[in-house]
Symmetry: D2
Subunit: 291 residues, 4 copies
Amino acid sequence: MGFESAVVNVTILKLNCPDAVGLLARITGFIAASGSNLLDVSQYTDTLAHWFFTRLAFEGGRAGSDPDGFRRELAVLAATMRAEWTLRPAERAIRTAILVSRQDHCLSDLLWRWRSRELNIAVESVFSNHDTCRPLVEREGLTFEHLDFSPDHKAAAFEDLAEKLRARNVELVVLARFMQILPDWFCREFSGRVINIHHSFLPAFVGADPYRRAFERGVKLIGATCHYATENLDEGPIIEQEVARVEHYHEPDDLVRLGRDCERLALARGVRFHVEDRALVHGNRAIVFRD
Amino acid sequence: MGFESAVVNVTILKLNCPDAVGLLARITGFIAASGSNLLDVSQYTDTLAHWFFTRLAFEGGRAGSDPDGFRRELAVLAATMRAEWTLRPAERAIRTAILVSRQDHCLSDLLWRWRSRELNIAVESVFSNHDTCRPLVEREGLTFEHLDFSPDHKAAAFEDLAEKLRARNVELVVLARFMQILPDWFCREFSGRVINIHHSFLPAFVGADPYRRAFERGVKLIGATCHYATENLDEGPIIEQEVARVEHYHEPDDLVRLGRDCERLALARGVRFHVEDRALVHGNRAIVFRD
Amino acid sequence: MGFESAVVNVTILKLNCPDAVGLLARITGFIAASGSNLLDVSQYTDTLAHWFFTRLAFEGGRAGSDPDGFRRELAVLAATMRAEWTLRPAERAIRTAILVSRQDHCLSDLLWRWRSRELNIAVESVFSNHDTCRPLVEREGLTFEHLDFSPDHKAAAFEDLAEKLRARNVELVVLARFMQILPDWFCREFSGRVINIHHSFLPAFVGADPYRRAFERGVKLIGATCHYATENLDEGPIIEQEVARVEHYHEPDDLVRLGRDCERLALARGVRFHVEDRALVHGNRAIVFRD
Amino acid sequence: MGFESAVVNVTILKLNCPDAVGLLARITGFIAASGSNLLDVSQYTDTLAHWFFTRLAFEGGRAGSDPDGFRRELAVLAATMRAEWTLRPAERAIRTAILVSRQDHCLSDLLWRWRSRELNIAVESVFSNHDTCRPLVEREGLTFEHLDFSPDHKAAAFEDLAEKLRARNVELVVLARFMQILPDWFCREFSGRVINIHHSFLPAFVGADPYRRAFERGVKLIGATCHYATENLDEGPIIEQEVARVEHYHEPDDLVRLGRDCERLALARGVRFHVEDRALVHGNRAIVFRD
């Protein structure tokens, strides 16, 4: 719900752990005892994997007035649950880097959503293996950095990129139609923090040139998939998918055109879910508490 | 989730009340203390109306072993919250009456979902102002009752119908394209227990002959709306809606054909949400915790 | 458009051939000269394959009053175009066999659409490798035939089935969740006349158990695909696809439930397109002139 | 199909007239005789209104080599059919003015599609009753003109606007969330050339504040409608509609956010259909030959 970042002093807790009796009661009891008012609770128990997932938004209380103390006490509680968790003020923008190649439709869409504050991100920099999108980025007053990803320089470029992401404490990397395959070490280091848009409804058409292959297969629906990048190309946890109906008269170029709208929407929604702490990964599945 | 009625000894609590600090903690704490294991928690706070809604599914514990005792204690807790609530075993089928006129597509679809146990209902009877659907109903081994709703007999027919619904403790009345307007007293008496399917995406095309009017307006989308019936025709709380794309070449008869699929789906889903205690009404809005 | 089978004396011509200048002018000129009134013209030129496709619906004229003479003259014209074509009165129902296993949701849906005349088919027989669906079929006054497809009898069963299809001049075979793989010779003999429903959005999840695999992959959309059966399993020309959004809380059983509605809709539409001569196959793609 | 403006020397004919026998044969015969090659033919007969609509795309021939001569001969043919028609080279961009108020999401989207050549328009100017969007427009190298639409100046502003549109031979006016009601004379003068985006699925929620009203009504689907502006507010011929599913937890601000994506898509598609001569208006209905 949009109110979370509008209301002052809202905190978001995201947590997952092995399932057990009374987990939600303990967590909500803890929050109530700290004087906060729960605004939104999402909870899901994977009964096949026996795993518990929750996201809570709450306002005021010690989480706002004494965040460090609150965090320490929460850590004690979470440890008893063997939980992974994150806690952060809703209003804080996520430090984000965008990676792009030549095509600018996703980038352009993200920039609009950033500028209009629909996405609560701070764009630290836009990196690219081409110079094509520089004007689009610089006219927004943002930094554009061209890195040389040609075969001989690719390894160094990824080292350079990673160093810059670390130096700036980048929390999220968005691959907005970035047409380079990430090295495994990069995927591992930034695991859970790299979001990609693939231009097909995965797992159909993994890999290159999906629209051409969709045309050849004669599908009646095309799509786009927003997912976390992992070492296995196009196989990371899926956050969001979008489809569009196509007809026999749509040629590959038409699929590209229709697909762009799917890509824009799926990526924007996926980034939003991540930025608002709505996406929780477990194994190769993403639990998404939509809004 | 489908598991709820599959698992033995699952209880569903549906509750709404004025918002306050710590409500969910108190309720989940109460359930945990009773020895039940929470399977699913849905919660929503209407921050504009300051109203709290929740649905909880839990297994085992005193709710199963001592239902009357559990209910008495819950009543005490709920009273402190000024809450409206219902509590029931998930596996119990809802006693349901279906009202129908001549068209059988929604009826036929509901009967399939009943027979295949997709919908956890017990069909007490099918009532109609026509005899058309009798064979379809009787071949399922169900009771079909023809009532005379002609102008002179309509008032008596509704009295008769209500009497039968009371006598059989019917909990849900589904208007599966029943083309008679319910009297106000009937809507009031069975408030929250009558679900209608209207053949347009409300609030567009309230009233008669929506497909003809949709054709004349030249809309590019038609739809169907599943809603609780109230005294105000086609204005009750909306549970579910479905749409289909139409083109200029679709004539009114085509809209009727395409609309049937929307009607079937919207009604089946709406009934399912009600039957699984996923729909909570407040004012003229229906909170629907989907699955 | 629904009017075609309603209007008396409507003829449908379906034709495809190598592209050339003036094809549509010649065909429509021929029809106009024969005294028919064109009701509907669909035309598509595949500019990559240089192939021309058309479907024309027309009323009256020599096609109605002297069908054999009309057909002979059309054959002469079509030969000059090296065209494949079919010609038939719109009102004639297509002789159809339905093959089914244990699950009855697609069968049940098709029977409703047949009974309500939404689908202009004549159901010659329902064949099955199980006896489960017999009551559903026989209560409609239709023939149900159980064939033994157990490993030792499978080859003979398909021979038997084919013999029966030939004997009854069956024009269309609908695999309504028939869980046996067709032998190659059968696919070849009935090529272009066998329609299958696969319970995934192809080409994702070819083969067995697609819902389980969709769950494991964590997709956010599931679907169903209606296609012509060919020797390559699940790889024939796609006629129609349908998708439904799913969430993390949907377990494999929920996907099965949600998928059933996709399967019903995609199969019903696909059969309709075939029956109304709206689907034209070229290579592995189906040109579908929708209505 | 995208190829039309890509291929050299393509002409588009759009035509509608009273229905009669042999119309399409005469038109396609005329085009074939002129030496053109038909690329795409769309045809529709409104059998209720007895009206014939067609759109033809063809390459080469006298339409390209002797356009004035071709036009004169076509005029003779069309006169015998009492047809309204337009003829133009596919590659010529449509001279377009965009009107906008404070919200820039539709404008921003249209500018991206113009810049990327997805929409074949030439943006003559952007007019506004506010200065908010000036930077967005001027950074594209386009003209932004602020007109004073305050109550005392509104009449003059519309005169001024109309004068500018006439002076620049503007062929299309796009109201991209322009929040001023057009005077009747303006609608009449520019009839068929003004496209509006309304932020609801018409005919639901005609007029002001549709998202607030949608929230209050508790709808489960919101939408946007792209239509030709006429003297009757929000009642002109509908070109395109788009919907999005909403849930109970979506507050009015969320509906606004979700609705923006519907508005962008419906407007972009509607403008595209007009610009490619795919939209033909008859009475209050728009025939749209999609691609």
